[in-house]
Symmetry: C2
Subunit: 206 residues, 2 copies
Amino acid sequence: MRTTTKPAPPTVDPDRPDLTPAARKVLETASRLFYERGIHAVGVDLIAAEAGVTKKTLYDRFGSKERIVVDYLATRDARWRAYLAHHHDDAELSPTDRVLAVFDASQEWMGANSGKGCSMVNAHAEISDPAHPAYAVITGQKRWMLELFTRLAGDVAPDSARELGRSLMLLHEGALVSDGLDVFPDAFGRARRMAAFLLSAAKDAR
Amino acid sequence: MRTTTKPAPPTVDPDRPDLTPAARKVLETASRLFYERGIHAVGVDLIAAEAGVTKKTLYDRFGSKERIVVDYLATRDARWRAYLAHHHDDAELSPTDRVLAVFDASQEWMGANSGKGCSMVNAHAEISDPAHPAYAVITGQKRWMLELFTRLAGDVAPDSARELGRSLMLLHEGALVSDGLDVFPDAFGRARRMAAFLLSAAKDAR
DNA sequence: GAAGAGGTATACAGATCTGTCTACCTGGCA
DNA sequence: TGCCAGGTAGACAGATCTGTATACCTCTTC
């Protein structure tokens, strides 16, 4: 990884108005199954059956399983970004609170989507070929998150934006995986407190 | 998860002297392929072919693919614990240095095993059934790591051992996944610095 | 009222996956 | 000498997987 190409904002519409009702049902069903059971463990027959749709319709709309996988990740990414934007628009927040709001949003998101961890990390575990079209979606989201944290950190302590951004990213990834493994409670609350500690230390060091 | 049963130390011998040479070759090959490509993406035919062994031998020794998966995770876990023990035995370290040595060991380990992240987390993404025998290996390792960090933290700041242990665990998980995703450099170095910061703050608060 | 988009139902092709079976070989050991 | 553990070689069974094909139905729209 670690290319020098730019952020890559071309995200899909989270509501997918381009899809027919049957196609939307397929994507929703596939997303749930992929997340709960893993990508390779879920076949197209199962997706079609659970979606209440014939396999022909599935292939007429998506063309291949690989395409459904890519759409699954891209749409979930788009929904997460929209979810996060909504959390940031909610009120006029201090720079520090805007950082902490990301951890709050993740906690709520994982609570709602009952957590098996990060779908991007999980997909990364199953996809070995960097040329796979899903790879760009996965790394794209992670780079977007890193840039988000770096930008938000810059509003708290401009001189250490890059350093702080990476540390916040590490905390967020740690909370995501810890929450999915469920080895100790309240991973996001903990990461949030640790983030607040880091931010206050960076502010004091000005 | 979050059972109340005890740690569960019954680990296998990392060198697996119980295996025949052909079986050891199978396990080594399977371990590499599972880690690089994912468990479901690798078939037993491929494992046998790459190991230079017939499929009959493979089934005579292991009985099922599931068993190879469990042995893959259990043996890797055992090797990691031995690797870590070796790092802790190396010299007489201060309590703080013993914590930081875990991050050093992980960095070296990932450097040698060229990282696609944590094999336990990756396996967790592919195994949905908690009754699967591999599940206990995965959660067992994570709980063991949490207890290790808690114990080591207790030697630095006894009053906050539990809290510190969880925070160190979160940092370590964050570094593992960040290293695997390769979205920013030197994740373990960063986690190590953050851990040192946390430990010094906990010591000052005594 | 013709056409086409978006469906259902179902069979099928071809590949791949886990697991089994028969037949044979080889070296160590009682 | 004979036995047996641990192999090789290779065919095969049965399930499952991705993807395609044929035939038909039902709206909406021009």
